[in-house]
Amino acid sequence: MPPPDTTAGSPTPEESGGASTGEGVSTQKSDVAKGGATKGVAATELPRGAAPGIRFEKVVKRFGHNVVLRELDFTVGPGERVTLIGPSGSGKTTILRLLMTLEKLDDGLIWIGDETLWHMKRGDKRVPANQKHLHEMRKQVGMVFQQFNLFPNMNVLRNLTEGPVRVLGLSKDEAVERARGLLDMVGLADKIDAHPSQLSGGQQQRVAIARALAMQPKVLLLDEVTSALDPELVVGVQDLLRDIARQSDLTLLCVTHEMTFARDISDRVLMFDQGQIVEEGPPDQIFGEPSEQRTRDFLQAVLAT
């Protein structure tokens, strides 16, 4: 089993800092006005440079007797944006949770770049990963949750600096500066001292997006990020994510029930059912002329609501 051909050199986080000033400025444009709240994304804040690809190799995940993923194979290219759709219980969220190490892998291999997430090399054997390996691998991955999961005991600033200071070893000043930049980007610069409970759902989710980006991940996982929002707040968050997706080199995996959003944000759509990929292709194809009956049924059901 060779590593996937998805890695383009070693990722260097520094590439993002200096080089991007030039192109970042021109981004305050059209869709900014739509949500009202989106301030326009300054690309300086976004991870740049080589993102790793992801590959699932015969991945198995069970919950008790219930097999959620059955020898699943799929690949996501470096910097590719992929949306996973399908009926609930089809294993989409489990895929993201495996990548974030929130669930344990039962069998198979998950590659991030040219390394396996759940296994490490010892000699020429692969043994289950220890905490240290998982910690290292997780540095590349960030996740935004359906329920935001901000830390309610910390204000917005501290939510954004906790990780960079405690995990990445940034100085307080560096972390604060990074947090300010990100808050600016998500349009919440004035909420820096607020507590999560004082924010609307949409604002909380923006902060959560900023918190994930503050760790400068290479892979970003979006798990039904607008499902818990009031309808009028959905568009603002989606616009923000669209901007981020366009202007960063993140490898993006997105689980959503919002088909318009899926169409906008992704290079490729994977349709799941019962832990298997039923159909995959560019959004236009999947949403325009799906070839599988199950995809058609699913889309009809989703669009009917």
Partner: protein, 217 residues
């Protein structure tokens, strides 16, 4: 049997002195209970089966036996093993350990109440274990249980007269001795009752204030 005010005023200073001892024993014991309870809770979550099961059964044992035999054990049995401590210290330690097995349960419930998403967010930003506990889980868990912990302070205060069995001159023992000296029990015992009501009511008000403060935000 008539109430004797002169006698009441005569014994009041001594009773207040006894009350002071009672309050000191309660507060010191409470600090031990708060700290040790947290230690039990964290040890019970240890991945080492030997450790967490030992802690589980030891705390279960302490919680299921009455305070008085425990006081006797610490004060009369430990010295025969070469560990001699004064009555007040023995009382404080025993009270603290006894109640730590209750506060441990309170902390456990508080930690269980922290939503799963908080742990997952910690994993997602890759926070090390120690920081997960110190910065995220414990602040939220403890906040939730502050009112319950406050109630245990009042419960401990009401249990502290039991220290008289090892001759701690707390308020009830003082009253009892005054009664024995003069064969007048009505005034000393009644005054003890009143003192307990006063302190308990004040503490309840304070605890309720804490409750309001931490329940809102």
């Amino acid at each position: 049997m008539d109430w004797n005010w002169d006698f009441t005023w005569e014994i009041l200073p001594e009773l207040l002195e006894g009350l002071r001892t009672t309050v000191i024993a309660t507060l010191c014991g409470y600090v031990i209970a708060l700290v040790l309870g947290l230690v039990w809770t964290l040890l019970r979550r240890s991945p080492s089966r030997i450790l967490n099961q030992t802690v589980r059964w030891v705390t279960e044992f302490i919680r299921s036996t009455p305070l008085i035999p425990q006081l006797f054990f610490v004060f009369y049995v430990l010295p025969s093993w070469g560990l001699t401590i004064g009555p007040l210290t023995a009382g404080i330690i025993t009270l603290g350990i006894h109640y730590s097995t209750y506060t441990a349960e309170v902390y456990r419930a508080g930690i269980a109440d922290v939503p799963k998403g908080q742990w997952e967010a910690c994993t997602a930003i890759n926070l090390p274990r120690s920081r997960v506990w110190l910065d995220v889980i414990l602040p939220q868990a403890i906040r939730r249980v502050i009112p319950t912990l406050g109630n245990y302070l009042i419960a401990m205060f009401k249990d502290s007269p039991m220290l008289l069995v090892i001759n701690v001159s707390e308020v009830l023992l003082v009253a009892y001795q005054e009664g024995g000296r003069t064969y007048q029990y009505l005034e000393p015992i009644t005054v003890v009752g009143v003192l307990f009501v006063v302190v308990s009511v004040i503490s309840s008000i304070l605890v309720r204030r804490l409750e309001r403060r931490y329940a809102t935000t």
